[in-house]
Amino acid sequence: MTAVATAVPAGTARSRQLAGTGALLRLALRRDRVMIPAWVLGLGLVVASMGSSFEALYNTAAERAELAGSMTANGSLRALYGPVFSDSLGGLIAWRMAGFGAVLAAVMSLLIVVRHTREEEETGRQELLSAAMVGRRAPLTAALLAALLANAALVVLIAAGLARSGRPAAGSLTLGLAIGGTGMLFAGLAAIAAQLTESARMAKGLTGAVLGLAFALRGAGDAADGTAGSPLTWASPLGWAENLRAYADERWWVVLLFLASTALTVAAAYALTARRDLGMSFLPARPGPAAAPRTLAGPFGLAWRLQRTTLGGWTLGYVCAGAVFGGIAKGATDMVGGNRQTREIFERMGGQARLTDAFLATMVGMLGMVAAIYAAGAVLRLRGEETADRAEPVLAGAVGRLRWAAGHLAVAYAGTVVVLGFGGLALGVSYGVSVGDLGRVGPVPAAALAQVPAVWTLTGLAVLAFGLLPRATTAVWAVVGGCLALGWIGPSLKFPQWAMDLSPYGHLPKLPGTEATAAPFVWLLALSAVFLAAGLAGFRRRDIG
């Protein structure tokens, strides 16, 4: 031990707490050599290439002004995308991309930080590392530095890409900072969550819930106030991202909000690290029952036990989101009439029906698309159980493979119905109460449930990957993300129909407000069943592990 001690250059206690940070950072970058470049390049290029898309779509100043005016005038559209601060080409890019990019940068950052902190502790790998010459603060520092590098690369890519395509440099940098700044703040929040929870899954879920709350606050605030000046908007980091006002009147001081809040969250995470033991959290483990309840008897009971908390969280989140969006639905009728651009966009997004219905249909569509994240996660629990060696002893019991899989799949498929049903009910009731007409509640939950076949198609795709390509299950997330991106940014970019048709959501009628035919539902359900059957057939034949 003395030999090691003398090998360390004399330093303060603080610097010794950081010992090994460089090595851990290199390890993190090595492990993420695919993930970080994929995120940064994918997101950076989408944002940077947005200039030419808008240029092609709205090539005259008059067209842009009309779009900007109509978008800002309508409360419900502001809830989705925020207000337009400038009708320049750059202004439209910022309007369309600030929120989208910020959300994705936040997801990227939280994944990076949790992966290199709580996940390492949970799997026991950190113990081995920490037993070497690694300081107490080194793992967290390395994770945050990895996130910082990723976000910095994102800022540079976006700023340089947009500036090169002819947009003003100041605005390009501001947009980059809005996205990267949100990313770093969520890196800090994820660092706190990683100290509070004991599992990586919970840390990601907690940070994801904060992101959802930030989205809802900004949406509600922007719906109420056309200048993004509502206190609700300012309470959300996503509101700061738009309030940087890239390509309009840039407010550089908002960057300080990101800096200060990131510093604060990072400091809090460090303070928490210093006060806890490795592998432990602040939520102490309570003793459990000495014997299993009657319900915990087979694969179904086990799957329900393992997944019920997640399902409860999603349902609660959907009820809250439905209540918020139902409450602002009335704002859709505040529409400045006769604006062709807006109506066109509305029609593409929400069908040809009355505008309120179109708004509700848009919200229902959002709920449907996001529900795929739940469903895919519930299916991929199967793979998680398998790789963690917990499936093996269960399958060594008198449990057929199909029955074991059916337990988790039942939760995934039925859970989708539960999540969408409750979300749609909350949306409908909240809307009915706000217009004082509970007779209009009914069609909304029905419309939400009409999203189920599309979600199940992606669920089936996850089963297919699990059964036939178990090592490539991460690709399922790319497909789910691609469908979300198509649904979110596709309509205002006038994507061709074949592109929208790639997503199962592109085939659904816009409900409520339009006539529904059985054909798309039948096709989607059939496709979903084929995926499911093929995936299960593959799973029966393959090796476990």
Binding site: P287, A291, P293, G298, P393, A396, G397, V399, D543, I544
Partner: protein
């Protein structure tokens, strides 16, 4: 103690092959475990023990060869077979939010059922706290959870994959007692282990595998027979013709003093040859179990002759 009369062996594996990509994990492995015996399953790390066990459990599909477990095909009849077996993996992972007691009951219910009295007794003997959550158990305690579930289950065959690697010596003794009780009830045990004293104390027969093949199989006595005995002798006269005898190795003659090693099945001829010179003193050291195993664990032990004597004692 009455053993049920079972004509078919509990486990019978012939010429098992299994590849993962280009790696040949199992290369013609044979294994026979008779009903009612405790069978030691030995081999260096990476020899293919766990892969064999996963094939036996129907978790991996055999590329070639026949596998019979309780006279059934474990791949096609997995559920029916699993109702009668209990498995303890080498690396027990538990669900973080389920208590040990819940996991024991769950595993029991997933098999043929659980003997509640035996469960309580085993928890006592293994000094296990069943109310702790999965994430708070140490490695040894996680193994105890799986062991209690296995020993309390109503099954015919126990498959234990290095089950004691995390147990302290006291618990190791409890484990050995439990295995002995299982044998006395007529149950079959396949025990993969690196603890040689444990194997020596418990196993009726052992199979040693290396690089995916069975290199030795038989009772411990039979296996000892296949190895060399060291002999040091003080003779009355010069030794006669020892070097010409088959099975003699490392002969070292200094005057009337002889040191040699001899294949144990050739011992007779050597003793007779020594006797012709008149023996004043004789020390004979039988092979230790360690020597026996190390010989097979090491990579290149004096050519392939030893390896060809596969399954002599069948």
């Amino acid at each position: 103690m009455t053993k049920p009369i079972a004509p078919a062996p509990a486990i019978r594996v012939d010429g098992l092959h299994k590849s993962f990509g280009r790696t040949h994990a199992l290369d013609g492995l044979d294994l026979t475990v008779e009903s009612g015996e405790v069978h030691g399953f030995l081999g260096p790390n990476g020899a293919g023990k766990s892969t064999t066990i996963r094939v036996l459990l129907g978790l991996l599909r055999a590329d070639r060869g026949t596998v019979r477990l309780l006279d059934r095909d474990p791949w096609h009849d997995a559920v029916a077979v699993h109702r009668r077996i209990a498995y303890v993996p080498g690396d027990v992972t538990l669900w973080r939010n389920l208590s040990g007691g819940e996991v024991i009951d769950l595993y029991g219910r997933l098999r043929g059922g659980l003997d509640a009295r035996r469960r309580a007794e085993l928890i006592e003997r293994f000094e296990l706290d069943p109310t702790k959550k999965g994430r708070t158990y140490s490695k040894g305690n996680r193994q105890k959870v799986a062991l209690v579930a296995a020993f309390a289950s109503d099954v015919d065959l126990l498959i234990l994959d290095e089950p004691t690697s995390g147990l302290d010596p006291l618990m190791e003794e409890v484990f050995q007692n439990c295995v002995a009780e299982e044998r006395d009830r007529g149950r079959t045990v396949l025990l993969s282990s690196h603890v040689l004293s444990e194997v020596e104390a418990l196993c009726d027969r052992v199979s040693i595998i290396r690089k995916g093949r069975t290199v030795e199989s038989g009772s411990l006595g039979e296996l000892r027979h296949l190895t060399r005995t060291s002999i040091v002798a003080e003779l009355a006269g010069p030794p006669n013709g020892l070097s010409a005898l088959p099975g003699v190795h490392d002969l070292d003659v200094r005057g009337h003093r002889v040191r040699l090693q001899v294949d144990t099945d050739k011992l007779d001829a050597v003793l007779r040859a020594l006797g012709t010179s008149g023996v004043r003193s004789l020390t004979s050291t039988p092979p230790t179990l360690e020597e026996l195993f190390l010989r097979h664990y090491q990579d290149d032990v004096r050519g392939g002759a030893d390896r060809d004597r596969t399954a002599v004692a069948r």
